[in-house]
Amino acid sequence: MYFSTDTATTPLAKIPEGDLKDKWSNFKTQARLVSPNNRKNYRILVIGTGLSGASAAASLAELGYQVTSFCFQDSPRRAHSVAAQGGVNAMKNYKNDGDSVFRMFYDTLKGGDFRSREANVYRLAECSASLIDQAVAQGVPFAREYSGYLSNRSFGGVQVSRTFYARGQTGQQLLLGAYQAMMRQVHLGKVTCYSRHEMLDLVTENGVAKGILVRNLDTGEISRHGAHAVVLATGGFGKIYYLSTLAMGCNGSAIWRAHKKGAWASCPSWTQIHPTCLPQSGNHQSKLTLMSESLRNDGRIWTPRVKNENRKPQDIPEEDRDYYLERRYPSFGNLAPRDIASRAAKERIDAGHGVGPLKNAVYLDFKDAIANQGKETIVKKYGNLFTMYEKITGINAYEQPMMISPAAHFSMGGLWVDYELSSSISGLYVIGEANFSDHGANRLGANSLLQACVDGYYILPQTLPHYLAQLSKSEKPDTNTAAFEESENQMRTQLRELCQINGSKTVDHFHRELGKILYDKCGLSRTEKGLTAAIEAIRSLRQEFYQDLKIPQNENGINEELEKAGRVADYLEIGELMCIDALSREESCGAHFREEYQTADGEAKRNDRDYAFISCWKSGDPSPVLIKEPLHFEFTKPTERSYK
């Protein structure tokens, strides 16, 4: 058996009493507060400077707390939130098209295939409107109508327009807003910022988070940081697949090391594989570039009707094209949610209808949009995306269709948190993509920028003081303790040992191999047989890693190979838990598609009777322990998630 189940423990989600729409205000009304002149006595560590981390650091510092912030990039402004293109959702109902907080809540819950908590999702929708206000006040240049009012558009999985955007650089502009807010606090001396610092370990005493250990990536120096609370805002770990839309340095190490110290991990195998990315073109590739989903608003997706079509796309007449999304999902068409669009593409590619040199792509065609709206409009809407496409592929997409293909993109899974965003370790909070909270088994486009911001600007600044206020007044961060000592020794040993293996293969070799296993067996579709094989394959790869890894130089000073090795070492463990997680869930839901559980027409078949729970994994020896947090649907009725 790859895992055991603990039925005696029931996770406490701490959902406030009351009607769905009153829960968040009920929490706020009853939450403990820290008086303004006391706040400066509390030190909070925020690891990560993406939208979640930067917004949290800024907001907590504005309240008066002492914040220390860390990131591995050479500037906080480079966190991977910067790469988000498409947009951010918010319920403003500016279009008068029937949007409401409840509708947004319902779309998100349904989009996640009813595998998230109602109360969390409702709060996300409820706080969404304020985020747009905040961002505009910071100077985020969202797109405007000619009238000067804010413009928005629709994104996959919904039928209203609630996505706000800033050209194809929404993440960059939102992040700059949050980064600037944080730098303002740096200037005021309220935030201390360490870039090029990587968290190595979480230090706990008696099950309470006391601080972290970090490594200065420029000098190799290891330092201890103590605090009253630790906040992980370290983003997603989709880079575990090697080829993904994530940045080179994105990692799962911070959350994994916290997991080893007792924090539960939830649904780690739920990975969003994004349908509109540039296809792999060769073995040298280090990443796959995302083409914003917003392109699906106007682009039509198709493959040739016949297999092994040799004609150029522009020479293939209408009757020989299969607009398969429009065919299979007439009401959502090209805007079907991501998991469905990706699986449908994989189905076409596997059936031999793929296009491009490696036959691993489908077409995304703007011919009709250009004919109907004029090229100028399309340039205005997507100009920078078309330019980017041409830069990378050398192809002009105004003249011939783009070629796109699915790629690993977003981790719905992450560390388990309760309603207050606290992990299962007291004093350890997890925000943004690093947690498992609002997106269930599939995230809707433009909802994660929102979640990262809402966690950081609005939720954590209310819930963290509620925790701090009950700490004893005499509590002072102290790094001269046995727990810090032990952690530091362990980390130093681990780094040294990695450098001393002196084998014959590079870190990237192992990472690529792991990526292949996961894409193949724990990607868009999964089977019991495949997952079992993957677990064995990962175990032997891990063994080989510790015997045959080659790292040049040592742990003192800049050593990129060592940085990567630490991350891949963790990936080799996370990958195994992902497969175990996928194996344990004998149903299909959202992005988790088990081939054994599908409807007659190939759609995901959910099993609410046995699997309406969040999987919480506790680290265990010899195997991980599964704890179930049951999901209760009081205000909605889970339905079959149909987009037909």
Binding site: D74, R77, G139, R144, E145, K287, Y457
Partner: protein, 242 residues
């Protein structure tokens, strides 16, 4: 494709560096420049040599972390393209390519091709924001902003903070970077109130952090991967002396 490379190698900030010759073979034209360096590094590691240290993260042209001086140009031969978006199809087979770090007095070299650009963060900290705390914001549609104004502010806001402007300036000035932020915020009604103080503080910080003075050579504009125009510098200067 095959290439000869002359790469700047420097152990740490204190040691002297030099150009070292390398060769790479059988590189596909669709390989990006950084992926070509990845391949070189894998070979070096397996040969027991130290890999070349260089910066990158998003590899999508948006985070601003990459940045190499290639054949004498910041970010290489293509206009409005960051180093990570450059592909080998832009070079000739057999070509010799010079690869150096972004040099400037305000950017000390950390190792090989990596430099320290923290001074740019310090410029932002000195005033590159609108002072609005979480929770203070009014309803977003209360302020109407014409789409032209927003687009023009956006042109400045799109700076990725790579520092190519500094590295390509013979005076090592950060005028384009600083002006881009000043201009972004100045062009929006929300940003106007603090404008005077912001401009004074940011320009002062720029001087104090060891950046040189701008003498309007326009080299920065040519190398900026985001195509940010030097008209923003004119605006900054006008506002500074007002």
């Amino acid at each position: 494709m095959n290439f000869k490379l002359k790469i700047w190698r420097q152990e740490n900030p204190k040691t002297k560096g030099k150009l070292v010759d390398y060769e790479v073979k059988d590189i596909s034209a669709d390989t990006s420049f950084l992926e070509m360096l990845d391949q070189l590094n894998e070979t070096l590691i397996l040969r027991g040599e130290n890999p070349v240290s260089f910066d990158s993260d998003c590899r999508e042209g948006i985070c601003g972390q990459c940045g190499l001086f290639i054949n004498g140009r910041a970010h290489g031969p293509l206009d409005q393209t960051s180093t990570c978006q450059l592909h080998m199809r832009s070079f000739k087979d057999g070509e010799t390519i010079y690869v150096e770090p972004f040099r400037s007095s305000a950017f000390p070299i950390k190792k090989d091709l990596r430099v320290d650009r923290q001074a740019l963060d310090n410029i932002i900290a000195s005033g590159g924001y609108i002072s609005v705390s979480t929770g203070q914001a009014p309803e977003a549609n209360q302020t109407r902003i014409s789409s032209d104004e927003v687009e023009s502010a956006f042109d400045a806001a799109s700076c990725i903070g790579c520092g190519a402007c500094v590295a390509s300036c013979k005076n090592g000035s950060a005028a384009l970077f600083t002006a881009a932020k000043i201009s972004h915020l100045f062009q929006l009604p929300q940003g106007k109130i603090e404008h005077k103080k912001r401009t004074q503080n940011m320009v002062k910080a720029m001087d104090q952090l060891g950046f040189g003075a701008c003498s309007n050579t326009g080299a920065c504009e040519v190398e900026c991967p985001q195509g940010i125009s030097i008209r923003h510098i004119a605006l900054m200067n006008k506002e500074y002396w007002k």
